[in-house]
C-alpha cells in the first residue's frame, strides 16, 4: 500500500503564502508609485531646465531653488516669513473653525435657528473674503489682525455648512434609539449629535484648512510687509524667480503637511469608521 512519494505534493498553505507575498509586493509597488510621482515631476523639471528644453529664466531647476532656499534660511529672513505666515494661518483657522462649529451645531440642532441663519450664510458665502480685504484693512489695520480675519472669514463657511449638514444627516434610527432609551438634552448632544456629526464636520475642517492656505498667500500679497505671500509677491516684482519658487514650494509643503496632520487627527477621533 505504498503511495508514490515522488509525486508532486502541493501544500495549500505554501500556495496561499506565495499569493499573499505577491499581494504584498503589489501593495509596496503602489506605495512606491505614490512616493515616486512627485520625485519624477521634480526630476523631469530639473532635466528639462538644465538641458534648456524649458526656459531656465522662468523655470529654474529645482536644485537651484533648493540652493536659494538654504541661502535664505542661513540669512535668517526665511524663518521670520514662515513664522509670521504660520501664526496668521493658525490664528485665522481657529477663529474660523470655532465659531463655524458652534453655529453649525446650533443650526443642526435647532430648526428655527437653521431657518433663520442659513439664508444669511448662503447669501454671504459667494462673496470672496479677498474682495473684502480693503474694507478689512480699513477696519483691522495693516497688521496681522486683518490677515487673520480674512482667513477666518474664508474658513468659516465650509465648516459651518458641513457641521450643520453633519447633524441633519444623522440616520434617524439613532434619534429613535436616543428617544426610546430616554436620552436627555445634554446626553443627546454628547452621545448622539456631536459624535454623529463628527465625520462630515471634519471634512469641512479639512476643506477650511486648504482654503486658509489659499487665502494667506493672496492676503499677504495685497497688504503685508512680511510672510510667505509677501515673499512671493516681492520676489516676483523684482523678477527673483528662484525666491518666488521657494515661496510657492513652501506653501505646497505646508498644505501637504497640514493635510496629513488633519488626516491623522481624523483617524484618532473616528476609530469607529
Amino acid at each position: 500500500m505504498k503511495r508514490d512519494d515522488k509525486a508532486v505534493r502541493y501544500d495549500p498553505f505554501e500556495i496561499e503564502q506565495r499569493e499573499w507575498k505577491q499581494r504584498q509586493t503589489k501593495e509596496r509597488l503602489k506605495q512606491l508609485l505614490t512616493i515616486a510621482s512627485p520625485l519624477f515631476l521634480l526630476l523631469m523639471w530639473e532635466l528639462l531646465s538644465r538641458t534648456g528644453m524649458i526656459d531656465i529664466r522662468f523655470f529654474p531647476p529645482p536644485s537651484a531653488i533648493m540652493g536659494t532656499f538654504f541661502g535664505m534660511i542661513s540669512s535668517g529672513e526665511m524663518a521670520s516669513h514662515i513664522g509670521v505666515s504660520l501664526y496668521r494661518i493658525l490664528a485665522g483657522f481657529l477663529l474660523g473653525v470655532i465659531p463655524g462649529v458652534v453655529i453649525g451645531l446650533l443650526m443642526g440642532l435647532y430648526t428655527p435657528i437653521r431657518h433663520f441663519v442659513s439664508p444669511i450664510v448662503m447669501a454671504l458665502m459667494p462673496i470672496p473674503t479677498l474682495a473684502l480685504l480693503p474694507i478689512i484693512i480699513i477696519i483691522f489695520g495693516i497688521g496681522d489682525l486683518s490677515k487673520v480675519v480674512t482667513i477666518a472669514g474664508s474658513v468659516f463657511f465650509p465648516v459651518v455648512i458641513n457641521t450643520a449638514a453633519g447633524v441633519i444627516n444623522i440616520d434617524s434610527i439613532y434619534l429613535d434609539v436616543a428617544k426610546n432609551y430616554g436620552a436627555g438634552k445634554l446626553d443627546f448632544f454628547t452621545k448622539i449629535a456631536f459624535p454623529g456629526a463628527m465625520p462630515v464636520m471634519l471634512e469641512g475642517i479639512q476643506m477650511g484648512q486648504a482654503i486658509a492656505l489659499l487665502t494667506i498667500v493672496a492676503a499677504e500679497m495685497m497688504g503685508a510687509t512680511s510672510g510667505i505671500g509677501y515673499l512671493i509677491w516681492v520676489s516676483y516684482k523684482a523678477f527673483l524667480l528662484q525666491e518666488m519658487y521657494v515661496g510657492l514650494i513652501l506653501i505646497s509643503f505646508f498644505g501637504y503637511l497640514f493635510s496629513l496632520l488633519l488626516r491623522g487627527i481624523q483617524k484618532k477621533l473616528l476609530p469607529w469608521r
Partner: protein, 264 residues
C-alpha cells in the same frame, strides 16, 4: 390562569394625513397582552404593525385611542419599554459595551449597577470578548445580540421588537431565537414581537396576532400552546402547528392579493 394584563390597547387608530390622500395605518386596535406573555404580530408589509410598535415605543402618537402599560409594584425604578430595532439600531460610534449600557446611562443609574448589569448581559449574549470593539467589526448576528442585550439590560416593563432577526441568515436566526427565548424565560418579561416569518412566530410566541393591511386591523388571534422549550423540528413535525402554518400562510396570501387588486 389569572395573569394580570400588562399592555392594554383601546380603540387605537392612527391615520397619516397627506394632501394627495390620507392613509389609515391602524384602525381601532383593541388588544390586551398579559404579564410575561410573548406575543408576535404577523401581517403583510405595510399593514401598520411597525406603526403600532412605534406608538407603544413613544416614537409616534396615536390619532385616537390610548394604551397603558402596567407598572410592576415591586418598587423598582423601571422604564416602561425598550425597543430592539431592526439591524441598524446599534450606534456605530459607541463600543459594544457602551451600546449595551446606553439605556442605563441615559437614565443615570448608579455606576455600580450599570457595570454589573452590563457585564451580566454581555456574558449572557456571549459578547464579553467583543466588549471594546466597534459595531463595524461585528457580524449581523453579533450586532443584534448587542441590541437585545441593550434592551434587557435596561430592565423595562415590556420589550418591543421590530423584526430584529429579519436580516439574518437562517442559521444565525435559529441561534438568536433560542438565545432570546432563554433570556425571556429567565426574566419573565412581556414581549411584543413583529415578524414576517410564520416559522419564527410559531417558534417564539404564546399568541399570534394576525393583521390585515390598509386599514391595519387585528383580524385573527391564534393561540400557540405547544409546550416549551420548542424546537424548529418539533414545529415542522407537529400536525397542529403545520395546520396553523398553512392557516397563517393562506391569510397572508389573501391579504397580499387583496391589496394588489385594490392598487389596480
Amino acid at each position: 390562569m389569572s395573569r394580570k394584563a400588562k399592555i392594554i390597547i383601546r380603540n387605537l387608530t392612527k391615520a397619516f394625513y397627506k394632501k394627495q390622500g390620507s392613509v389609515t395605518a391602524l384602525d381601532d386596535i383593541n388588544v390586551t397582552i398579559n404579564d410575561g406573555e410573548f406575543v408576535c404580530i404577523v401581517g403583510p408589509s405595510g399593514c401598520g404593525k411597525s406603526t403600532l410598535l412605534r406608538i407603544l415605543a413613544g416614537l409616534e402618537t396615536p390619532s385616537i385611542g390610548e394604551f397603558t402599560i402596567a407598572i410592576a409594584t415591586d418598587g423598582e425604578n423601571r422604564p416602561l419599554q425598550s425597543m430592539v430595532f431592526q439591524e441598524r439600531g446599534i450606534i456605530p460610534w459607541l463600543t459594544v459595551e457602551k451600546n449595551v449600557e446606553f439605556g442605563l446611562k441615559m437614565r443615570h443609574m448608579p455606576k455600580k449597577l450599570i457595570k454589573e448589569r452590563t457585564a451580566y448581559y454581555l456574558k449572557k449574549t456571549g459578547l464579553e470578548k467583543f466588549s471594546s470593539l466597534y459595531p463595524k467589526e461585528l457580524s449581523g448576528g453579533m450586532k443584534q445580540r448587542v441590541s437585545i442585550a441593550r434592551a434587557f439590560a435596561n430592565d423595562p416593563e415590556i420589550l418591543l421588537m421590530d423584526e430584529p432577526f429579519g436580516a439574518l441568515d437562517e442559521q444565525n436566526k435559529f441561534i438568536l431565537q433560542e438565545e432570546l427565548l432563554s433570556i425571556w424565560s429567565e426574566t419573565g418579561k412581556t414581549i411584543l414581537f413583529i415578524t414576517h416569518s410564520i416559522d419564527e412566530a410559531l417558534l417564539l410566541s404564546d399568541r399570534i396576532l394576525l393583521m390585515s393591511s390598509q386599514p391595519g386591523k387585528i383580524i385573527r388571534e391564534i393561540i400557540v400552546d405547544m409546550p416549551r422549550p420548542r424546537k424548529i423540528e418539533d414545529i415542522r413535525e407537529n400536525p397542529v402547528m403545520a395546520g396553523q402554518f398553512v392557516e397563517i400562510w393562506k391569510h397572508l396570501q389573501e391579504e397580499v392579493q387583496r391589496s394588489r387588486r385594490e392598487d389596480e
